[in-house]
Amino acid sequence: MNDKPQKKPRIKWIKLLFFALIVKPLVLIGLGLNIINRPKLPKEGAAVIVANHTSHLDTLVLMSLYPLSVINNIRPVAAADYFMKNRYMRWFSTRCIDIIPIDRQVMKAPDQLFAECHQALNNQEILIIFPEGTRSITEERDFKLKRGIHILISKYPDIPVIPVILRGLGKALPKGEALFVPFNSDVIIGDPLAYDENAKTYLQTLENQYHQLLTQALTHPNEF
């Protein structure tokens, strides 16, 4: 990471207001978080947060952990086919959240696919990635981790990759539901993931860390 930030950062006002007026109050009052190991959260970029994915709230919750002064530097990586599917979604995704779109459907060379991610890392930004690639129904399971995260990070093996477990958000707003119901949720932050050249070992370590973090949860998952 010798590259200096390439462009002068400009303030993204819509994103700032969206988080100040809507997301932060919603997360604080409507949800309520049990943040476990907060000091382990990377304070500045470049860094990558890898979290499990059960709800649309996941991205908003992770971003809300950051003060408004750095919110501009937090960039979630999201599926282009879903978040850019029409112009309303596109406006919301790029202006309010400021995502990095990833094309899940067209086959591309890794460098081309991750070009924007690499640029963001060069700009000292913090990426949020869901290595499962999609939302799943429950938190208690084997994580189906995709190799994308390994391909992305293999170019920057020194950048810290921080595993985070989110639990309870699948209760507040599960996949396929529109009614939001308030529940407290856990955000459990882990130690930086050690890099391994072998993708399989790398993902296995991540999966083990996820299971270890789940044991620290306070909230109860769905089902008896």
């Binding site: 309520g32 943040i35 476990i36 119901v181 529940f183 407290n184 306070l218 909230t219 109860h220 089902e223």
Partner: protein, 311 residues
């Protein structure tokens, strides 16, 4: 000054002084032993400042603000309860209705409609929630889901809302105002927690219920009981319309029910194998960890007070 009744003002001031003394002690302890880890103690004291400031602020703003504050605390407690308890995915819809019961229940407290206040959750919600549950159509786990939701409503909303009824009731000591009654109940309950803890440290030997709460001893319970009863007797005529003799009974009820509330919530946490119910109040745990004794002492004190002062 500010139109605060003098006794309530003195009480608020005394709480501040107590807290300042506690903060100075903590500060000196940290200075004396910089190596020892007092993080928990520091956080705990800081949280007490926040809690006292929020409560006194609401009391200063009036009965309406106090009602809204306690409705909000009730919401936080109920939310925390649902977050740590196992529920079925479909129960989200029942939980949604349970939340809606909070503003209604506290509204009845605010307008002092006693009949509705006392039956809304034990009768109407009790009959409605299973019906809503039937409409969802999932019968597996039906009994358990309805039991959990009704019980949590009784604990976190019905019982707790009695404090809002007290905040709006007209049976008040003119020198203390409505705040006097609220401060009396809150202070005596929290004081009982602390004095049981302290006397348990001093003369606690025989355990009461080792399976639920290994730190609860007869020495701690009885010590706290005696101190709480004495202080309640003296504070009762100062802050409420109760006489000193009535204050003795009130103190005994608060001491016993506070203890019971504490161990009931401990059993819930034991069952779920967690130590704290949340992380909302740094140094204390979740909101349930703080209001557990209050959940029992509030309705018990209320009904004693309501009966003894009724015409």
């Amino acid at each position: 000054m500010f139109n605060i009744p003098s006794h309530a003002f003195t009480m608020g001031l005394s709480l501040m002084i107590l807290l300042i003394i506690a903060s100075i002690i903590v500060f000196l302890k940290v200075k004396q032993n910089p190596k020892k880890d007092y993080q928990e103690l520091v956080l705990r004291t800081r949280s007490w400042w926040w809690m006292i400031a929020i409560i006194l602020g609401a009391l200063f703003l009036g009965a309406k603000a106090t009602t809204i504050l306690f409705a909000f605390i009730s919401f936080l407690a109920l939310k925390e309860f649902y977050s740590i308890t196992p529920l079925r995915t479909v129960d989200r819809r029942l939980v949604f209705w349970a939340y809606l019961a909070i503003p209604i229940q506290f509204y009845f407290a605010y307008i002092q409609w006693f009949g509705m206040f006392i039956i809304f959750i034990p009768v109407y919600m009790f009959l409605f929630l299973p019906f809503r549950s039937v409409m969802i159509g999932e019968t597996k786990g039906f009994i358990r889901a309805n039991a959990v939701i009704q019980w949590s409503l009784m604990l976190c909303v019905f019982g707790f809302s009695h404090i809002a009824y007290l905040a709006n009731i007209d049976r008040i000591n003119i020198n203390a105002g409505f705040s006097g009654l609220i401060l009396y109940l809150l202070f005596m309950t929290q004081f009982n927690d602390v004095s049981q803890y302290v006397s348990g440290k001093c003369f606690g030997k025989r355990k009461i219920i080792p399976k639920v709460s290994p730190n609860k001893t007869w020495g701690g319970f009885l010590g706290g009981f005696i101190v709480t009863t004495i202080l309640s007797a003296f504070l009762a005529p100062y802050l409420t319309i109760l006489t000193m003799e009535q204050g003795i009974i009130a103190g005994m009820l608060i001491a016993v029910s506070g203890f019971v509330g504490d161990v009931v919530l401990s059993s819930v946490k034991r069952d779920l194998q967690i130590k704290d119910s949340g992380t909302l109040i740094p140094g204390h745990g979740g909101i349930l960890d703080r209001v557990d004794s209050l959940m029992y002492s509030t309705p018990i004190f209320f009904h004693y007070f309501y009966y003894i002062t009724g015409a």
